[in-house]
Point group: C2
Chain length 267, copies 2
């Protein structure tokens, strides 16, 4: 009888253990066609997959917590992917950052439980929207703020918050082409701050965002702050469940995905 | 005898009255070869002269308060020019901004006394220098901050201030090719602030800046904050009057000309 040698040497088995990684990613979105892989021009997902795939030495599929539009920025987008590569989180972070264009950076890489999924595990998100209230265009913020001039009534804009907070049907603030089934989302917190002279920042905390929702709400709040709509009009707009009832869509460059929350969602 | 008609009709005389204008100019310097007109690529001065010249309908020479290097930004550069055009300050501002690339904006235009000169009338200037202390590169500040990582000792950097304040010979912080006769300048105020998470900002107020002076001082302070030089070394460096004794030159993108002071210089 004797002993039969194993067909696969044991040292070859270990690399095939599947691992799951969570990446926190920042990007300056001006030069990209948004998050999601597509045929027209470079996207964050595509460039990340190319970089991480090279570090892992096999093609990877990277799932984001959600898409961001062309021109939208992120300080804390989250993505996850599975790999059989023996690379450590530190090696993936350093390797990917070497291969990525400088407008994209992996700012954190962690090994996580196999059940984690950047999109399906997400509990909530925070977006910010920056307005430049400079009377003339401000070259130093043009890539990251919407130039709205000095005549916005910020107090009036804040009067809109109660109409938006809570669990609501946001169909009126959703663009066509969304994948999602339900248009119900919860906005749990809204905040307006002034982080610099002639700069206003609106924070949105919500359990999720429909397609173009943050930008459609921002544009409608702008209409209120300009006096073209009243804060009370938001009730009517929400009830109509019709995108045409809402205001304009704010341009992409002011929007930034600040953070995606998982177990740490404070609301 | 009779009356002889004047050779020049009186309505043609008025437009030739010379007027002097002061412009306050902001720019995102990344894509330009600095302030001063030159053969290699677009400069702020050249583009301003083209735009203002078209508005005034004759070629103009625009004098800046001083040059800024390629890649350096400005929030309040000041320039002056003389014109015989009947255009109002508001017309010059609006007209020039229509013709300028969006990275350059005239944020204020004023008619001033004929004796005013953006450079010779200046009493002092404020520059700021931004450092990003993010552990990984930060895509959202890459055009306007120097990524120095998280390990700078900011308290040690501040210990350098007393060595730099006051009227001194700054030859050691001057690059060759300067036009100026005297290397003596007064730094009247230095300030370090932290306007955002992982962002440090150093303000310089001085009666004038030699060529590359703000960047050479910033680079040397960086060397101190990294532990490569001691604060006391600044005495030795200043006394040596030798550029080779100072530290490295900080990159252009962190520097921003905040304001030029005339009669309103507070020191």
């Amino acid at each position: 009888m004797g002993v039969t040698a194993p067909i696969i040497a044991p040292h070859l088995i270990k690399p095939f253990m599947e691992k799951n990684f969570k990446l926190t990613v920042a990007y300056e979105g001006t030069n990209f066609r948004g998050w999601q892989r597509q045929s027209m021009g470079p996207t964050i997902q595509e460039l990340l997959e190319l970089a991480v795939g090279r570090v892992c030495a096999h093609p990877v599929t990277i799932h984001g917590s959600g898409r961001t539009d062309a021109g939208v920025h992120a300080q804390g987008q989250v993505a996850s992917f599975k790999t059989t590569s023996p690379r450590s989180p530190a090696q993936i972070l350093a390797g990917a950052n070497t291969l990525l264009p400088r407008e994209i950076a992996v700012i954190k890489a962690e090994e996580v439980d196999l059940s984690f999924h950047a999109r399906f595990s997400a509990r909530g998100k925070c977006y910010s929207y920056d307005f430049s209230s400079s009377p003339v265009r401000d070259p130093l913020t043009l890539r990251q703020a919407w130039p709205v001039g000095p005549n916005l009534d910020w107090a009036k804009l804040k009067l809109c918050f109660p109409f938006l907070l809570g669990e609501r049907d946001f169909s009126s603030f959703q663009s066509k082409g969304s994948e999602v089934q339900s248009p119900v989302r919860s906005i749990t917190h809204l905040e307006l701050s002034f982080p610099g002279p002639r700069l206003a920042r609106l924070y949105f905390y919500a359990t999720g965002f429909l397609r173009h929702m943050a930008r459609a709400i921002t544009g409608t709040l702008y209409n209120v702050a300009r006096g073209q709509l009243a804060p009370e009009d938001l009730s009517r707009i929400l009830e109509a469940r019709d995108r045409r009832q809402a205001g304009l869509m704010a341009p992409a460059q002011g929007l930034c995905l600040r953070r995606v929350y998982y177990e740490d969602w404070p609301f």
